[in-house]
């Protein structure tokens, strides 16, 4: 009964909340507008924005030396999570069945497992860094911790359901994923979408000034 609710209505509600919430947040940010820049452009804002969006994937030299672990763990977690989310066979099947209607090649199961290992290691290390480092602990608010723990719980229940033989374990995973989807638009988890905008904004400002940054 509760399983049917999780698998049916709650799923549609959560995915709707997710889509509407994300659109609403992005529209809100865009509608906030920018101050008119009255200076004479010395370079292209557009190319600066595009350059910044991609160049920021490569960390600065000081970052690679001073916080190497955060960098490695960060990439382990984020790349791992994206691969898990979009290229694990059960997820591909689920998305194809529920959303897109078509599927795409998934990674082999062993890649899925290795990726999960990396993502787990990255997430745990990053969260520990967050609570143990005085600076990041002060910078973190409840939202950060809820976001981290939600992602962790979704990943953990997913890993517990790996045998794909017990419906209740799948439903637990799905339920937490739904909670995650509902929570997503109203939290810092939005950075999955807004990083493009923030980087683009910085890049455009710099590009207009003719600065290669």
């Amino acid at each position: 009964m509760i399983g049917e609710f999780i698998d049916g209505p709650l799923w549609y509600f959560s995915i709707t909340a997710f889509v509407i919430g994300v659109v609403w947040r992005i529209v809100a940010i865009v509608r906030a507008g920018l101050k008119p820049d009255l200076s004479i452009a010395r370079g292209s804002a557009g190319s600066g924005a595009v350059r910044a969006i991609f160049s920021r994937f490569v960390p600065e030299r000081t970052v690679t030396t001073r916080s190497r672990l955060q960098l490695i763990a960060g990439y382990m977690f984020h790349v791992g999570l994206l691969v898990l989310l979009f290229f694990a066979q059960p997820h591909v099947d689920f998305i194809a069945e529920r959303i897109t209607g078509f599927d795409w090649p998934a990674v082999p199961h062993w890649v899925f497992i290795v990726t999960a290992e990396f993502a787990f290691a990255g997430l745990i290390l990053l969260w520990l860094h967050r609570v143990l480092n005085p600076v990041t602990r002060l910078l973190s608010d409840l939202d950060d911790h809820i976001g981290s723990i939600l992602v962790f719980l979704v990943m953990l229940t997913g890993c517990l359901a790996l045998a794909q033989s017990h419906e209740s374990l799948r439903l637990l995973h799905l339920f937490l994923a739904e909670v995650f989807l509902i929570y997503f638009p109203f939290s810092k988890l939005m950075h999955a979408f807004t990083f493009v905008m923030s980087r683009g904004y910085t890049g455009a400002t710099m590009g207009r000034k003719g600065v290669n940054a």
Binding site: A121, H129, P134, L138, H166, L169
Partner: protein, 364 residues
Amino acid sequence: MRTPAHHKTVPHALGVFGIYLLGLCLLLFSTLVDAQEKQPKELPTVQMMNPAAEFWRDVRQRSAPVSGKTQVGGVETGVLINATGDRWRQFRMSQLIPISGYILGGMVILLVAFYAIRGRVPIEGGMSEHKLPRYTGYERMIHWFMASIFIFLAVTGLILLFGRPLLIPVLGKEGFSILASASKEGHNLMGPLFLLALVMIIIQFVRRNIYQKGDLSWLIRGGGIIGKKHVPSNFFNMGEKTMFWLLVFVGGLIGVSGLILVFPVLGLGREIMALAHVGHAIGAILMITVIIGHIYIGTVGMEGAIEGMKTGYCDLNWAKEHHDLWASKAEENGEALSNQEVAKMRGDRGSVPPVHSGLQESGK
């Protein structure tokens, strides 16, 4: 007259002698014939085994391991009787499960009793005004990384070990099956991370864990339990060093045997798998027992013990009492910081101005 008489007696004597001789010869000959008759039975004979009996002996692996030929692929498909399985079954059911249960339960009871008798080990000089930096952020991070993975693996492993006698009566078979399946998958997935954490821990802490001069006296005095007096030690004391090396070797054993168990694709035989299971289980029970003690000291057993791992700084008095050699040297080097300084560096409540939220840059 005498001669003929004499002459007459000689043939008579000869005749008697001849009869005796003949009898003797007959006797000898008869024994020889007898011996000859027995001779053919001692000729070299071919020992004929009963093929049926030989076959069953091979099937049962009585004399030597025998592997037959079969069209079916897989691990040890040519072996008809797995001779080691029963030994492993007896180990698991009548030794591993009950004995490890007693060990773990006994450890908990022991600690409760110890706490009841000795109570929390206090900092005798009380909390001081100064702290010493003990662990860096990275060290604390890998410690808690290891700790979280260890606890997860221990809990899931113990569920699989003790679930049937303890949890099936509570949850029922179906309910426990869900828990067991989740435990198995989680255990298998998180297992390799334990090895990763172990490598990080070894690299970071190995130099401080090499045994030194004062360690033997620490051991003799039971780490201060005997005699109620603290034993001086360096950065890590003898107990911590022993736990470190246990973690390295026993943890390594657990990790390697776990990898053998989690990869049946390696095609290892059942004997090696069973042996890996035995090593994995014994090592894990030993490690869990030790870690229960470790957690006891950190949480309730000793005042100030967890501070270093929690905040990175430990109380100066605590350090002097428990790690005198390290603490006095660190104090000489001027590493000691006042509580205010530490609070400031850690950004504890009250030491820094509150952070205003909602100050995001806005276009308007």
